[in-house]
Symmetry: C2
Subunit: 351 residues, 2 copies
């Protein structure tokens, strides 16, 4: 049995769900992969908890469901202990950095946690876009220098393995275009506007449904899609793209009449992120609300669906779509990434 | 520069196209991955050609375009030399086994070539379903014993990385269902029957378009789809499924009136291969022509599209579709598999 010690930063929706997935999958992972995951340290915004033998996950999950900090964890709880101090002090194999995107603070403290972990020789798995948008090249160089893995499949399009597909299955190809609808809430809001709801009602409903974050502009103005496009472009195409390279238009640019007219034409508006090769071999990056006809590979995405299309020279055009009705697939990308590091042989175990 | 020596068996559509891809990508592969592919031996049904420094690919391609055997290759040509004798005698890193499916002969000579190569410590890449359907477990055990890789992403759904996605990106999940439309010609023929063409006309057109093989029953009776389902089930779910475990119905079971009626209902018939978990945890395997509504993830596949849907417990429902207008993507799966073996770090190179 291979024990893998994890430190988990961030116990919001993704972090807590990940704990639930680990708990639920304990026997399965032991049986299928000979792996036992032990979460030896966790931190939220109010404190941390540590147990070198592995924290009791039902207790951690219970505290978070009660709205408490993990600092209240019996014995191992450490009120006020910050994420970075935890990463510095704890001995573990993998850092899971699942704190929220925080670009207004230069992706901190996530970025420092990742730098520190890589510097200590820990693998890093993160669904947090911020550090990758700010320091994509630097973090890869650091991982490479320390001989460890940096995995972030959950940064783009929830549980859809868009990055894995693009990075691994398209090797050898020239990528002509990447198109992605990597965000649920923008499509949901535009669908409601097309139904005739006003902007305030539509965004309030999205907020009530739990899909619109406190910082609504992050999603609605296209920053989230732009960040995902930057990561896709860096990782899949290998171009050193930055957030400021993306021509970005938010969904407020489309008025309700046009949304209704598009529907009558059989088209569906989605916030489309696109990287497209130009004649000189450079890539133009854009995020904009566009009416997609049903013939477009992403033209029929429902409320719970995200997708990506890769147009290539030798592998044809490949589309991948996920139907994701809760945050479990997004949180499970951390498990996918851990298994990608530790269970390299891809074949399913023989029963 | 890392020289990789390849032996290629089979110079039909896939094999010849692969030579073209290697030729076209020579500079790109050197630049991006530091890899040079040298095809040191090739065999077709009439003979072989060998050059330990790498055959001249334009010459090989030219011979095949002229309808000649590679045995006519200047100097290195060896008329009458069989594939197995070539694999036994040549020193190379990877066997590419691209000969046609031959289940009536127990997948020979492909199966013996693969066994021999693995036994010699060569990696094996094959888009040939036959050997995997006949000896899936044996070949994996052999590869594992010799510490080499066995890759076969091209056996299912052309250039779509259905196996890679299923095997690598769904690790940790319980697969509830796999649905696949892994075959183009059956959909094409059913579309023509739905248009009102008769069976003979429709199959003659498919043959003229080059998508129906000499052994038409292999496709039309669902054997091809069943073979692909067996490989998917073994590789992704880890169940030891055999061809005889598949409940198989060919497309002749649907009459033209029903095809037309389905169209009027807005549905589209496709030959659907399905593995579905039962209450006892076993998987039921079936291949049958089914009317797919537009709401089905594979319900709008066009003539040149194949797809797969994975329904999972923790990664949601993931659909992947390829648009493949010629055999290049299918042949390029051999390049994908080679790079998967030799360029393990998945990130795109930094420009």
């Amino acid at each position: 049995m291979h024990d893998i010690k994890l430190v988990l930063i961030g116990l919001g929706n993704l972090g807590r769900r990940f704990c639930e997935v680990v708990l639920e999958k304990e026997a399965f992972l032991a049986d299928q992969y000979g792996i036992r995951l032990r979460i030896v340290g966790v931190a939220d915004s109010r404190g941390a908890a540590v147990d070198p033998d592995g924290l009791d996950l039902p207790t951690v999950i219970h505290l978070k469901r009660q709205g408490q900090s993990v600092a209240a964890y019996p014995e191992g709880g450490q009120p006020g202990k910050g994420a970075l101090a935890l990463v510095e002090s704890v001995a573990a194999d993998v850092l899971l950095e699942a704190s929220p995107v925080n670009l207004s603070q230069q992706a901190e403290p996530g970025l420092s946690c990742i730098r520190t972990a890589l510097g200590k020789g820990m693998h890093v798995v993160t669904p947090n876009k911020g550090p990758l948008v700010v320091a994509f090249r630097e973090l890869h160089t650091l991982a490479s220098e320390h001989g460890v893995s940096l995995r972030y499949d959950g940064t783009v399009a929830g549980g859809l393995p868009a990055l894995n597909l693009g990075c691994r299955d398209l090797r050898g190809a020239r990528i002509r275009m990447i198109e992605a609808v990597p965000n649920l809430v923008t499509g949901y809001v535009m669908d409601m506007l097309g139904d005739g709801l006003g902007w305030d009602v539509a965004t309030a409903r999205a907020r009530a449904a739990g899909v619109l974050e406190a910082d609504a502009a992050w999603d609605l103005d296209g920053w989230d899609a732009a960040a995902k496009l930057v990561i896709l472009t860096n990782a899949v195409i290998g171009v050193d793209a930055k957030l400021e390279d993306v021509a970005r238009v938010g969904i407020q640019a489309v008025d309700a009449l046009e949304l209704q007219a598009a529907r009558e034409r059989g088209e569906r508006y989605r916030l489309l992120a696109r990287a497209e090769i130009a004649h000189d071999g450079s890539y133009g990056l854009s995020v904009a609300p566009l009416p997609l006809p049903v013939t477009h590979p992403l033209g029929r995405l429902g409320r719970k669906q995200m997708g990506v299309v890769f147009t290539t020279d030798i592998y044809g055009t490949i589309t991948a779509i996920i139907d994701e009705s809760d945050p479990t697939p997004s949180s499970a990308t951390m498990l996918r990434d851990i298994l990608d590091i530790y269970a390299r042989e891809p074949m399913a175990p023989v029963h």
